[in-house]
């Protein structure tokens, strides 16, 4: 089945990396403006993967993660998810709220709304970058978030996405606060456009490669 051929051409893969860098770079600028601190993010690795492979890419499936999920609507529909390990979540809460819950049960309204807001910022900035570059309209719908085993969060997102899609962009990320070495936050970002969504983006960028 053609559905299984997910590998990107060289041009496409560098375009996707560029999109991710610009999109997530915008997100970090927004986060910096919100907090008055300076954040940056790098994208060490990016790949298109079959949805079924996603669990294999997770280092610690039974580790607890903070997961943000946002359905994507507009010219290209799909799904977006952003995951950080619990330890990274606590550093983010400490940076933004000034404190962090001891355990996942300690999540209250303040931590929850902070997390959802970060989801909004990162998600919208990422989609805006794609929208601008590809002259398409993509927008995020209100985020949801979860604190659970990484594997449970991922399988839930994948099950939701399986209803229509087969391919995801798996983007490893590292967020860090400049001037604070200890603030390194590793996570990953999933962008799962609907079937043909990626092609539509590539078409508009003028880099669709002949099959």
């Amino acid at each position: 089945m053609a559905d299984n051929s997910n590998s990107l051409g060289l041009l496409q893969s560098s375009a996707v990396k560029e999109l991710a860098n610009i999109g997530l770079g915008n997100a970090m600028t927004a986060l910096s403006n919100l907090t008055g601190r300076y954040f940056d993010m790098t994208v060490p690795n990016i790949d298109t993967v079959n949805l079924d492979q996603i669990p294999e890419l997770i280092d610690d499936p039974m580790g607890v993660s903070v997961g943000i999920y946002m359905p994507v609507e507009g010219d290209v529909c799909g799904h977006m998810a952003f995951l950080w390990p619990w330890s990274a979540g606590t550093s983010i809460w400490k940076m933004l709220v000034g404190s962090a819950p001891e355990t996942p049960e300690g999540i209250d309204e303040l931590y929850a709304s902070t997390t959802l807001e970060i989801g909004n910022i990162i998600g919208s900035s990422f989609l805006n970058a794609i929208s601008d570059m590809a002259s398409l309209k993509l927008h995020a719908t209100p985020p949801l978030f979860s604190l659970d085993h990484t594997a449970s969060i991922c399988s839930s997102v994948v099950a939701e996405a399986q209803l229509s899609e087969v391919t995801a962009l798996f983007i490893e990320t590292e967020i860090f606060e400049i001037e604070n070495e200890a603030s390194d936050v590793r996570g990953f970002f999933l962008f799962i456009p609907n079937k043909d969504g990626l092609d539509r983006i590539f078409d508009n960028l003028g880099i669709r490669e002949a099959a």
Binding site: P55, P61, P104, T115, P142, S146, H149, I153, A159, Q162
Partner: protein, 174 residues
């Protein structure tokens, strides 16, 4: 010596006639269903992701869907030599792990649809599970010891608990 572990990943279906420890990890909205022949020890487990197979697409992995997965589990258990009348079943999963956010309870309902599908299909075959642990907002990891018949469920919030003993057909009260 402990039985070897068999990982049951997303959309996987595993059947064994040797002592084993099934490990179905990270069941968010997915459901893990296990069947154990109480006398021969032949056992099988499936990691169901969606309620039913798509009508317009070929089924790449039967274990992915409740309808094809359960039928395939029955077929593989019997092919391995299990006796239908002695197979005990239990299942867990179908959570909505994204519990924070506006109208979080109604926006992702794959878990709920999976639960309904598994309930209906098992009832259709006249099967009454020994125990089940479904819904809620915590992802589950399910382990099954095919020798003792003990099924355990682990969540972030509650840790690990025994769900039932398939060999003794005994559910453990939560």
């Amino acid at each position: 010596m402990a039985s070897p572990q068999i990982l049951v990943g997303m959309a996987d279906l595993q059947v064994t006639d040797k002592p084993a420890l099934f490990n179905c990890l990270g069941l968010g909205s997915c459901i893990g269903l296990v069947g154990l022949d109480r006398s021969s020890g032949i056992a099988g487990m499936v990691h169901i992701m969606l309620p039913e197979a798509f009508k317009d697409k070929p089924v790449d992995k039967p274990g992915k869907f409740a309808d094809t997965g359960i039928a395939e589990l029955f077929a593989k258990l019997e092919a391995a030599g299990a006796n239908k009348s002695r197979i005990a079943y239990a299942y867990a999963g179908g959570a909505q792990v994204f519990k924070f956010g506006s109208s979080a309870d109604t926006r992702m309902d794959v878990g709920l649809r999976n639960i309904r599908a598994v309930e209906e299909i098992l009832a259709g075959f006249g099967i009454k599970p020994v125990a089940f642990d479904v819904g809620g907002s915590s992802g589950r990891t399910v382990t099954v010891d095919t020798v003792s018949g003990i099924v355990k469920v682990r969540t972030v919030v509650s840790g690990e608990k025994v769900l039932c003993n398939l060999k003794e057909l005994r559910a453990v009260a939560a």
